[in-house]
Subunit: 341 residues, 2 copies
DNA sequence: TATGTTTACGCAACCGGTTGTTTAATCTAT
DNA sequence: ATAGATTAAACAACCGGTTGCGTAAACATA
């Protein structure tokens, strides 16, 4: 393996018998450098295929032009779409993006957040893991004046920018829709209890019932346990049926749960939507593939990503803001919750 | 916004009236530093919550302990699972991971690969975009002696490590399975022509037909166009039906295409699997959700990620290897290709 | 011609680490 | 007591950029 040496400013400087600082200034078109000198330096840089060493740049400028992103799981369509939104604007603004997964684990989240911290990211965008209750690892960022933006799943005990969808309203709309479709015994399959979204959606569910004069029935509020996967939905649904509870509609915390529920219903030969209507949350691509197609709340994932990075960049540029943007989810009605035949 | 200043080695050195180099050595337990001095330095470092500046480290050591990953899209379950495999081993070995998407665009791929290059990643793991034919942007890495490992979608014209599944064999198995299930007119919905996987799978398809004495029929080799999305499958299938071509089985380049095909078949009231059997490739979670459940080839995505990073780390540690690992896909038979009733 | 202003560039410190080489102090052996 | 070996720590260069400040030469003005 032969050694390869990158061309540096010093190399160019020596060859042209000028100083390093002149090269530095010439390359960024600084006015105090003469035209011929500038031209000569730029030409030689091109010839040597010179690229500035961004490590050195970062060290002297104390900015890495890098932002960190932590999501629970990349494999969720929602999160990867948010990331695409983040990347789009980040690249346009000259920022790189480092993406990390917490894998829904608090410990892992602490580790990656420290890794990103020591990588000197200029800012952080996070959706916390379902286990996270302590936010000390994020406080470290605030202490060092590194801006943070939370999206979707926020830390309840931190004052920071956030971008969320109106979970309360979304849940309310879903339940309202079910009521207007003639349902009365509406169950809610809830998510991990620690997450704010879980609580907000439960509130929206309850309030919609109340608004339409339907009494809340504790039997119909189902806890799916820690997971947000299909299996959790299937199991919880079977358990519910085994308990003899039979709703005429189900609003699930997210699409995978909804689909798990649907599979259990079908296995039990319960017709969807005639006997039980189902509505999910997130509108993952899978919602259009199941039969019947699943009604769901569309979260503007790309927009959430864009908004997050906007807020972050504003802070990086020195604005001292704490803004909590709330976007609205949109109800997409499909076959799984249509009116009874 | 009050200024925050990280503690540096110099701060510690000054307070203890020793030199910066002594601090550096004390913190890494170098033998040439006395016990008391060492203790004092380590204690003070703890007290100040000192963390080494990894930018400075990278600059002097010329290693960022970072590896770059470029995938076409994060939103594919396959890719995000591969990434999980990569991360697992990377973190264990003290490496950070920077993930980028090419968004299936050649131009974007060039940009992100240059970004990663100037970020001085110690190595690169790539699955190329479907547009990529030119690999000059990756050659730059080789020139600078930065190791690269390709997975799944490789550059045909580069000598480099790679990790792939045996596409030929996978396709062969799928088609063989269909033949053994009593099918004779087997269509193949192929992928983007530039990708090797497309070609390999076509070969496997043809050879399996040949092996069982079935003549290849050009009408049954369907081009899905540039995309690998569901819509492409749906459209191509409808077009095929409109042309009056009616196979009794379909092997699709990937699950989304297969599912698109299934949706068109259902829309045309063609029974799956009785009239037409369907097999996909990749075994995405969606395969178990469609009805009937889709037979598919399982790619060991996590394992592919692990293998890729293994090969990369070996090269980073100085081994001059060019290994092409080929893993085997496993056929998972479900309802969509079961024997005729 | 003497003075003041530009113009064009060099000098050197700095960012925060790593590391080869010296040096001073202490210890060992003769 | 003194030369030689050890030990403990300092010095200083280096990684590759950025930038404030200083200054010589060229030019304009009086």
């Amino acid at each position: 393996m032969k050694e390869y040496k990158e061309a540096t400013m010093l190399d160019i400087a020596r060859e042209l018998k000028v100083s390093k600082s002149t090269v530095s200034r010439a390359l960024k078109d600084h006015p105090s450098i003469g035209k011929k000198t500038k031209k000569a330096i730029q030409d030689l840089a091109k010839k040597y295929n010179y690229h500035p060493n961004s490590i050195a740049y970062s060290l002297s400028k104390k900015s890495t032009k890098t932002i960190g992103v932590i999501v629970p799981l990349l494999s969720h369509y929602y999160f990867s779409t948010v990331i695409s939104g983040i990347e789009e604007l980040a690249y346009k603004s000259g920022y790189k993006v480092i993406i990390c997964q917490s894998a829904e684990s608090y410990d892992r989240e602490v580790i990656v957040s420290q890794t990103l911290l020591s990588s000197k990211v200029d800012g952080l965008i996070v959706s916390i893991s379902r286990e996270t209750v302590n936010s000390d690892h994020f406080r470290l960022y605030q202490e060092k004046n590194i801006p943070i933006v939370f999206f979707d799943r926020v830390c309840a005990d931190m004052e920071a920018c956030s971008v969320t969808v109106d979970d309360y309203k979304g849940a309310f709309m879903a339940v309202e829709h079910l009521i207007k479709a003639g349902r009365r015994r509406i169950a809610h399959f809830a998510g991990p209890p620690l997450l704010q979204i879980t609580q907000k959606r439960i509130e929206g569910y309850k309030d919609a019932l109340f608004r339409y004069g339907i009494a809340f029935d504790g039997d119909l509020l189902i806890d799916c346990g820690a997971g947000l996967e299909q299996e959790n939905g299937s199991l919880a649904a079977q358990e519910m049926l085994d308990r003899g509870v039979k709703p005429d509609a189900i609003f699930a915390i997210c699409d995978p749960i909804a689909i798990g529920v649907m599979m259990t219903l079908k296995k039990n030969r319960i017709n969807i939507p005639d006997e039980v209507a189902v509505v999910g949350f997130c509108d993952e691509p899978i919602a259009r593939v199941v039969e019947p197609q699943l009604s769901s709340l569309v979260q503007p994932a790309f927009r959430i990503g864009e908004t997050s990075i906007e807020l972050l960049l504003q802070q990086i540029q020195g604005q001292d803001i704490i803004e909590k943007r709330v976007l609205t989810a949109e109800l997409r009605i499909r076959e799984s919750s249509s009116r009874r035949g």
